[in-house]
């Protein structure tokens, strides 16, 4: 018996086996009890002792070799059959997934968070303040003259002669300074109320964000740097800001702040956001008027200085998302909210 020929012939047959069943048949033929190789092993004892060992080694090697080839082929065939089964077990991956309920966040909340987070990053502490507040906090301590027009009943909602729906978040400036000594790095957000007839850019109820910094050596340059950082975080890294002198009762000097238009690039000209000016007004700000320090303890205008700013959340949201009418923000239409949540 030519063992080498037997092994090479059997190996070829094993490797050609097309499935597990065929492989099993071949295995029985070449390694089963009646296989010539196995028969030969059984007959070893009848050989002369001097031949027995060499012949035995040769036959055992051949058997192990074939067993290895069978195992290898069996693994391969099983893998192939699994692949084949998986190939036919198909789903339409373009069908929708099983839906889980999902809530949207409101655009005012989103915008408010984005802005507050910027100021937290700048080292501010976020606080809350009352929506109904004393005239003292809303006007008097903010240096509004007794005749200031915004005190009029045509402009401000009164609860009592000395109690109003706050017209801005600025009362929190005074409340924060009352609560503790400088340094102050404060941001606050909340609802405010003015007797404005609603239109595309005004609602009688609106959301404001206020910031106040009082510390040693605070300058107008610090205000500008802060607002530049804010503008870039919210409106894009290429933005510039521009301060224009203005007037507010509780800051001196006061400024209005413009941000370089982010729409000109988005939209091409002529730009309806900045009306071709290249700048969009976003907020009012200024250096804290030293008169305010007179309403609280522990703030000496010769020792500390500060700045404050206030901005409308709906205006920022409207500008950022190209919303033509901010009243949409208060309608709670899920189709609208879902665009942004």
């Amino acid at each position: 018996m030519d063992v080498d020929a037997l092994v090479s012939e059997a190996t070829a047959r094993i490797e050609a086996a097309r499935d597990v069943a065929a492989l099993e048949e071949i295995r029985i033929e070449v390694l089963g009890r009646k296989a010539p190789l196995v028969q030969a092993l059984r007959e070893l004892a009848s050989l002369p002792p001097d031949e027995r060992r060499a012949r035995g080694d040769e036959l055992n090697r051949a058997r192990r070799s074939l067993e290895g080839v069978v195992d290898e082929r069996a693994r391969e065939l099983r893998r192939r059959e699994l692949e084949e089964r998986l190939r036919t077990d198909r789903v339409d991956v373009t069908l929708p997934g099983v839906r889980h309920p999902r809530g949207y966040s409101h655009l005012i909340e989103q915008t408010r968070r984005d802005i507050l987070d910027v100021f937290v990053g700048f080292g501010y502490v976020v606080v809350d303040g009352p929506e109904i507040d004393l005239v003292h906090y809303n006007f008097d301590a903010l240096n509004h003259a007794p005749t200031h027009p915004s005190r009029q009943v045509t402009d401000t909602f009164y609860i009592a002669d000395d109690v109003v729906l706050r017209t801005h978040t600025s009362p929190v400036q005074i409340r924060t300074m009352e609560a503790g000594p400088p340094p102050v790095y404060m941001a606050t957000a909340g609802r405010c109320y003015r007797r404005d007839t609603p239109d595309a850019t005004h609602t009688a109820m609106f959301t404001q964000i206020e910031g106040l910094v009082v510390d040693r050596g605070i300058t107008l340059a610090h205000l500008k740097g802060t607002l530049l950082g804010f503008a870039r975080a919210i409106f894009g890294a290429e933005r510039e800001v521009r301060l224009r002198p203005h007037f507010f009762p509780f800051t001196e000097p006061s400024v209005e702040v413009d941000v370089s238009c982010f729409n000109c690039a988005r939209d091409g000209s002529p730009c309806r956001v900045c009306k071709g000016e290249g700048w969009v007004e976003i907020l009012g700000a200024g250096m804290v008027d030293p008169n305010l320090y007179g309403y609280v303890d522990g703030y000496d205008p010769e020792e500390v200085s500060g700045f404050a700013f206030g901005l409308g959340v709906e205006r920022v949201a409207g500008l950022r998302h190209d919303i033509p009418d901010i009243r949409l923000l208060w309608e709670n239409d899920l189709r609208f909210t879902g665009q942004f949540g």
Partner: protein, 785 residues
């Protein structure tokens, strides 16, 4: 404030292009709102001074005339004209073919009833110079024929419109703007307008009028001059043009002069027909209670003692600073005029203006507070114009009543303070230039504030602002301050708010922002009983509309509106929430204003257990473990499908309330105080070993009476289960055979776990037996095998 540029150039000269000037003004604090072009848009050379050579009847039209008009080029034009207020020899304004009129129409050679017309003779209204369109404009005969019309008349005018902040009444006039321009450009400002004319009238002012101030608190200064031989008529074209370009309506020479003085230097002045003033007496006094006056606009007005009037011996002839009385008006027949230049108290003028609903160009200046030292300038300018334009003679002398006038402050400015506040270095020269251009005068190392800024500039910081804005705000660099030494953080309230919002969004609810204000009908719609604190609304004294009269005491009703509209839009299911404040009377000046979280589920899949699941998610996130749900007694909820929990509630809406809000089908709501969701502080949540030893799980089913709530079973299990009982969960309720009628089987998962050792089955069995015994003893429960 509208500033005609040709007028502005009379007080300050500049070459700067207008858009650049506007930008510069905006950057120095006087914001340019708009740059308008008034009048003729282009082709000014086609507008000429002409003279009518001949005027004949048009051959084919009764109402037209046929003229030849010399326009200075030796080629008289044939012009057909519809006006009849002129004759041959008249000097007229002519537009030649090709000219573009202010309204944009282009003039062509036209055939009118068969006759060619080679131009047009213009009326005031066609040139946008005034209202008069009855006839053509008749020009002074000393204007040379052929001159460009623009050399005589502002037929084209650029108008700068500025926003003036409320602290700068000194800028509500052309001269005040010119001062700002002079500072911004570092250019010279011309002298105050107005040159005193010779007083050629007879006698003296005292012969014509006596005056007294009875209310000096409301009128610190009252001055007047008398003019005789006044001929009331239309103003000359240049004056009309300026008044119109500044946005007012030309009326008559006398009235236009008073308005001109106001527009030029900011002092509102008033003209009285002195012959109508009873007793020729002026009394500046408070109105009597219920005193009546009919003002120039024809409105009958009832006054009170807070209103200042200018009265004669008998009755008010003007409401001070606001408007004259109809009867004292200057009319065509007026010959003797008293011009008033006064100073009225700003706040009281503002109050009167609001009370009477009467806001005028004058009141808008008075209410901001004007400089009493403006009076002499106003008298000079008014007098000059009265004499020059009305043929009047100025009666010698001035009535000028005032007490001691306030002297402007002298304010120090430390350079180091300026630089420390702005963050920019300045030279002494820059500081001096900015302040002197604005009218400040150095005085002993400090600065004398000009009278017109005395109210606004009293402190060093006010001077700092002036220097900063005039020296250039662009120079301010952008720098970052250090931030809070303790680091930035969201703060407790904001962290809690975000946690609540996050859980509710995760539970599939969409955030809403609803109105904080309610109409008065909400408590009834919610069926709130009298005595319910949530009926006791914080009301607004001056609501804008009946829809917004009071502050909300609950949040969820606003969400019901949103749910209804969204369902109406075709949403199958609506799940929304809001986190916000409610307002409850407190007995103090300020109401309690706690934050609350509320939600609504409506449409498909809305019910008590869905809403309760959301509340349980909130409680779990806050680690509030002790919250019990008890049947609720809320008037707006379904009495059998609602629960109270902590300081709030959850449940299906009462059908009447649902109907009141237009909601069909089941809707469930919840509302809770945000504070109760605060949970333990993070640092108090300590590690327990829950992984080293395996839990022991057991299920039991217990049969109890129908009236025993599942929550009660859980309570008994908890109380009897021992320290190792880690969790109890109801997972099934079964009714029907073999459970007897009137009873139910409640199935529970029990989990026992120790953080110290592995529990044995024997320990589990013992605990289970304790539990079963307690259920039997306390609830009559039987174990169902």
């Amino acid at each position: 404030m509208r500033v005609p540029v040709s007028w502005l150039r009379e007080y300050v000269s500049f070459d700067t292009p207008l858009p650049e000037l506007g930008e510069l003004m905006s950057m120095t604090g006087t914001k340019l709102e708009a740059l308008h072009r008034r009048g003729v848009p282009r082709g000014l050379e086609l507008y000429r001074v002409g003279r009518v050579l001949t005027r004949e009847q048009h051959p084919n039209a009764d109402r037209l005339s046929l003229c030849t008009v010399d326009v200075g080029d030796g080629d008289p034009r044939q012009i057909v004209c519809g006006a009849s207020n002129f004759d041959a020899g008249a000097t007229v304004a002519v537009a030649l073919p090709g000219a573009v009129l202010p309204d944009g129409t282009e003039l062509r050679i036209a055939k009118l009833r068969g006759v060619e017309s080679h131009g047009m003779m213009l009326s005031e209204s066609e040139l946008d110079l005034g209202q008069d369109h009855a006839g053509i404009m008749l020009l002074p005969d000393d204007w040379s024929v052929g001159d460009a019309l623009i050399d005589h008349l502002a037929i084209a005018e650029d108008v700068l419109e500025f926003e003036i902040t409320s602290n700068r009444p000194d800028c509500q006039n052309v001269y005040g703007i010119a001062r700002e321009v002079s500072a911004a450009l570092d250019a010279d400002l011309g002298p105050w307008p107005g040159a005193e004319p010779e007083a050629t009238g007879s006698g003296s002012v005292e012969d014509h009028v006596t005056a007294r101030i009875d209310a000096p608190d409301l009128c610190p200064r009252w001055a007047g001059r008398v003019f005789t031989g006044v001929k009331v008529g239309p103003s000359p074209p240049w004056l009309k043009a300026r008044i119109a370009a500044a946005g007012m309506r030309p009326i008559s020479n006398v009235v236009d002069i008073t308005n001109y003085v106001m527009l030029a230097i900011g002092e509102p002045t008033h003209a009285f027909d002195l012959d109508k003033v009873a007793g020729r007496e002026i009394i500046v006094r408070r109105a009597r209670d219920s005193e009546a006056v009919t003002t120039l606009d024809g409105q009958a007005r009832t006054l009170d003692t807070d209103v200042l009037v200018i009265a004669d011996a008998e009755r008010p002839s003007a409401i001070a600073g606001l408007m004259g009385a109809e009867w004292s008006e200057v009319t065509d027949g007026t010959t003797t005029v008293l011009i008033e230049c006064a100073n009225f108290d700003g706040p009281s003028t503002q109050r009167s203006s609001i009370r009477l609903g009467l806001r005028t160009e004058g009141s808008s200046r008075w209410e901001k507070g004007l400089d009493p030292h403006l009076v002499p300038h106003a008298l000079a300018l008014a007098s000059q114009l009265m004499v020059a334009l009305t043929g009047a003679e100025l009666v010698p002398g001035t009535v000028d009543l005032h007490g001691e006038l306030p002297q402007p402050p002298v304010v120090g400015l430390r350079k180091e303070r300026l630089e420390a506040l702005i963050g920019v270095a300045y030279t002494d020269r820059e500081i001096e230039r900015a302040l002197t251009r604005l009218g400040y005068e150095p005085q002993d190392g400090r600065w004398l504030v000009p009278t017109w800024r005395a109210a606004d500039t009293t402190r060093e910081v006010d001077l700092i602002e002036e220097v900063m804005r005039i020296a250039g705000i662009e120079r301010v660099p952008a720098e970052m301050p250090g931030g809070h030494p303790g680091g930035g953080r969201l703060g407790e309230d904001e962290v809690l708010r975000r946690q609540v919002v996050g859980v509710l969004r995760g539970a599939g609810l969409t955030e809403a922002a609803t109105l904080t204000l309610w109409d008065a009908g909400v408590p009834d719609r919610l069926r709130l009983a009298s005595g319910d604190a949530r009926r006791d609304l914080v009301e607004i004294q001056n609501p804008m509309s009946a829809e917004w009269t009071a502050m909300r005491t609950l949040i969820f009703p606003g969400l019901l509106h949103s749910a209804r509209t969204n369902l109406a839009m075709g949403q199958a299911a609506v799940a929304m929430f809001e986190v916000g404040h409610v307002f409850l009377r407190s007995g103090e000046a300020l109401p309690d204003q706690p934050a609350r979280a509320a939600g609504v589920l409506a449409g498909e899949g809305a019910g008590f257990f869905e809403a309760k699941g959301v509340v349980e998610a909130l409680l779990a996130a806050a680690r509030v473990e002790t919250a019990g749900f008890e049947p609720a007694d809320e008037p707006f909820l379904h009495p059998g499908r609602s629960a109270s929990v902590l300081d709030g509630f959850v449940g299906e809406l009462h059908p009447e309330v649902a109907a009141a809000y237009g909601l069909e089908g089941t809707a469930a709501v919840f509302e809770l105080g945000v504070d109760v969701l605060r949970g333990p502080p993070r640092e108090e949540v300590l590690y327990r070993d829950v992984t080293s030893f395996p839990p022991l799980r057991q299920d039991i089913a217990v049969v109890v009476g129908e009236d025993v709530p599942a929550g009660r079973i859980v309570e008994v299990v908890r109380a009897s289960g021992g320290a190792e009982l880690a969790a109890v969960d109801v997972f099934d309720v079964y009714r029907g055979a073999p459970v007897p009628e009137g009873r139910k089987s409640v199935a529970l998962h029990l989990v026992f776990q120790s953080s110290e050792r592995t529990l044995t089955d024997a320990e589990g069995d013992a605990a289970r037996e304790r539990i079963v015994a307690a259920l039997a003893a306390e609830l009559g429960g039987e174990l169902r095998e």
